[in-house]
Every structure is written in structure tokens, then in C-alpha cells.
């Protein structure tokens, strides 16, 4: 399981997870085999066979699953925007002492 905080910020306040482009995904499931944090879930008997089940398990700034994806179907938020957001949250936290 992943840490519950990242850089001192509650993990569920940070929007960092893969997004699946279903027009590209061919359900090879290489990402599922790779990710040790169980971010993905396979749904064999459904039309959409792969979903993001546990987004908060995804390690912030890790994009390794996308590097296993032949069809290039996985994308992530912008790192700079995420860093800025983390800084803002930390400031807000300081403000609340």
C-alpha cells in the first residue's frame, strides 16, 4: 500500500493518477502486471475491462505504467501544476497552524 501522505499533504488531496484513453487501450494489461500498488482493476466480464480502482494508491509523480504501455493509452496530470498545488496546500496548512 502507498503512503497516506506525500510531502506532508494528505494523499487524497493530490490529484495524481493515470487516465486511460479507451480509444487507444487494447487491454494488453501490461500496466496491471507492472503496478505493484493495485491502482488498476481488471473487469473481465464487462465491456470496459480495465479501470482505475485505487487512484490514491498511485505514487505521486510516478508515471512508470505509461512506460509499459505500447498503445500509449495512459496519461498523467501535468507535473508542474501538481507541484504548484502541493505548495498551495502546504501553505494553506501552515495558515491553519
Amino acid at each position: 500500500m502507498s503512503e497516506t501522505t506525500f510531502m506532508g499533504v494528505e494523499r487524497n488531496l493530490i490529484d495524481w493518477k493515470p487516465t486511460i484513453d479507451y480509444t487507444k487501450c487494447d487491454y494488453c494489461m501490461e500496466c496491471v502486471k507492472f503496478c505493484p500498488h493495485r491502482v488498476f482493476e481488471v473487469r473481465e466480464n464487462e465491456e470496459i475491462k480495465l479501470i482505475i480502482k485505487n487512484p490514491d494508491n498511485c505514487v505521486v509523480f510516478c508515471r512508470a505504467c505509461s512506460k509499459t504501455c505500447g498503445p500509449d493509452a495512459l496519461s498523467f496530470p501535468d507535473k508542474n501544476a501538481t507541484t504548484q498545488r502541493i505548495k498551495e496546500i502546504r501553505k494553506e496548512m501552515e495558515g491553519h497552524g
Binding site: E3, E30, C62, A64, G70
Partner: protein, 286 residues
């Protein structure tokens, strides 16, 4: 000049990037003393290409992230001297490859761009570990989990991010690498993809990547800055990262742009030691 390689392209017909890998291999063989290994033929008959692969350093050209050519090289126990992934290169050059298999003018021009880039890279003088700027004298605290030993530097000059990368800061410059946690998790590291000298890297931006048979790890830069040195030895000997990711296995050096601002989001030895111990307990490094 790219010379004297045995070139193994994926030559795939699943998508355009595979076709480009074949085109690039042909161009390299026509414009230099390079010999192509046909991946299809090699899979069914080793005799023809084993000698070639033994005599020359191997240059693998993968089309996409499925990395079929790299996997073939691994199956045949070949050591890869150099590798590119066409799809990654296309992204870096902001080129959207077409959906079909036929190469259009755009893709043909891209093959030319890649060819030029590869030749240029060979002409460029690069900095090696000997002439890089920072000398580091690490002192470690260690802990053990099963048969795995984790070393964590405790020098005050060293900063960590929570993505398991370290930075030794000296003046306005930092040497950067991965921690023992990464190399133990990946086990035998087979490839090192360096960043380019002169690249401007954001804090938490990608500073190259390393790859084992288990996974690809993107280095998350602790600092923002310009790449001023890379550890060239890792290109041919990525296993140095497994031997010691802090000393001979360092990755790159940056000239820092906002050292104090960046440090606010980094942690020191004590906190990183705690985090690593916790991660090791939870993930059961295997």
C-alpha cells in the same frame, strides 16, 4: 558518426513507429558501417546473427513501449550498448505519428531527424565521472530487510525527495541519483536513458530513466536546473547503479536555479530513513 554497430530494430507492423524503426535501421546501415539484424529471422534461426551480435556492440531500435526488440535482445542474452524508442523520440520532437503503417513525408523527415541526432550525439564531447564537478564522500546509515541491505547517506549535503532520488548539493550544483530502495526493487538494471546535457529540468521533472527486466523507473529530479554533466559510464554499464547508486552509480549533475525554494519540498536523512523503512515493510522488496 554512428559506426560499427549491429542494429536490431523491432521492425514491427503493428504501428507506424515499428515501420520507422526499420527505416532508421536501413538508413544507418546505408550511411555507415552498421549491420542490420532482422528480428523475425533471428527469432527462428540464431546462426546467421549470433556471430554478428558477438562481434559488434548492439544498437536496439524499439518502435513503442512494448519494446519487442529489447525483449528479443534479452531473450538472446545480448548486452545492449545503445537503445532508442521511436515513440519516445517522436514525443520529444512534438511529432504525432500517423495511425496507419505507411510512412508519409512527415515520418520520412523524422527518420532523417533521428539519423542526424544520433550522429551528432556521437560527435559531442561528453563529461564522464572523472571530469564531473562534484566529489562526494558519503557516510551511510544502513538497515537490513531479509537479504537486502539499504544504505542511506547521512551527510548534511544530501537531500531526498519522496520518489527515492537523492541530491548532493555543493554550491550552486547538485549531483543526483537514485537510492538503494530503487536499485533493490528493480534488481538487475539493464538500461540507462540519460537526460541531455543542456536540458532544463523542472523540480520533480524527469531526469532520465533506468530499466530492469521488472520495471522502468523515471528519475524524479529533486531540484530544478540545467543538466551540466551525466554519468556516461552508466550507458554501457548500468549495473554500476546496482553496485552503488550513490558513488559510481550517480546519474547527472545540475546547475541549480532555485535551490532554497526547491529545498522546501525535500527531506533530509532522518525523514527519508523513516519513509524507506516503512516502504520496505509495506512493499516487501523482492
Amino acid at each position: 558518426m554512428v559506426e560499427n554497430y549491429a542494429i536490431l530494430p523491432c521492425n514491427g507492423l503493428d504501428k507506424c513507429a515499428g515501420v520507422i524503426s526499420g527505416e532508421l535501421a536501413i538508413k544507418l546501415s546505408e550511411n555507415g558501417d552498421n549491420k542490420i539484424i532482422c528480428p523475425v529471422f533471428y527469432r527462428v534461426s540464431e546462426t546467421k546473427y549470433n556471430k554478428l551480435a558477438a562481434e559488434r556492440p548492439l544498437f536496439v531500435i524499439d518502435g513503442c513501449q512494448t519494446r519487442c526488440a529489447s525483449k528479443l535482445a534479452a531473450e538472446k542474452n545480448l548486452k545492449v550498448a545503445r537503445r532508442i524508442i521511436v515513440a519516445d523520440e517522436a514525443k520529444n520532437h512534438h511529432i504525432e505519428l500517423n495511425d496507419g503503417l505507411r510512412i508519409t513525408d512527415q515520418e520520412q523527415a523524422f527518420v532523417g531527424t533521428l539519423f542526424e541526432k544520433l550522429n551528432k550525439a556521437d560527435e559531442k564531447p561528453t563529461l564522464s565521472s572523472e571530469d564531473a564537478g562534484i566529489s562526494c564522500d558519503f557516510e551511510y546509515e544502513t538497515f537490513q530487510s531479509g537479504k537486502f541491505i539499504f544504505r542511506i547517506p547521512k551527510n548534511a549535503e544530501v537531500f531526498f525527495n519522496e520518489n527515492d532520488c537523492w541530491a548532493w548539493v555543493n554550491g550552486n550544483r547538485a549531483r543526483i541519483g537514485v537510492t538503494d530502495y530503487v536499485q533493490q526493487n528493480l534488481s538487475d538494471i539493464l538500461y540507462f536513458y540519460p537526460p541531455e546535457i543542456g536540458d532544463d529540468i523542472d523540480q520533480f521533472g524527469e531526469l532520465g530513466s533506468i530499466e530492469s527486466s521488472k520495471a522502468v523507473f523515471e528519475l524524479v529530479s529533486p531540484f530544478r536546473g540545467k543538466v551540466v554533466a551525466i554519468n556516461e559510464k552508466l550507458v554501457t554499464n548500468p549495473e554500476l547503479i546496482n553496485e552503488n547508486p550513490y558513488e559510481k552509480g550517480w546519474v547527472a549533475e545540475l546547475e541549480l536555479t532555485d535551490q532554497e525554494g526547491d529545498k522546501e519540498l525535500l527531506i533530509g536523512f532522518e525523514r527519508y530513513f523513516e519513509i524507506t523503512q516503512k516502504k520496505v515493510e509495506e512493499t516487501n522488496v523482492r
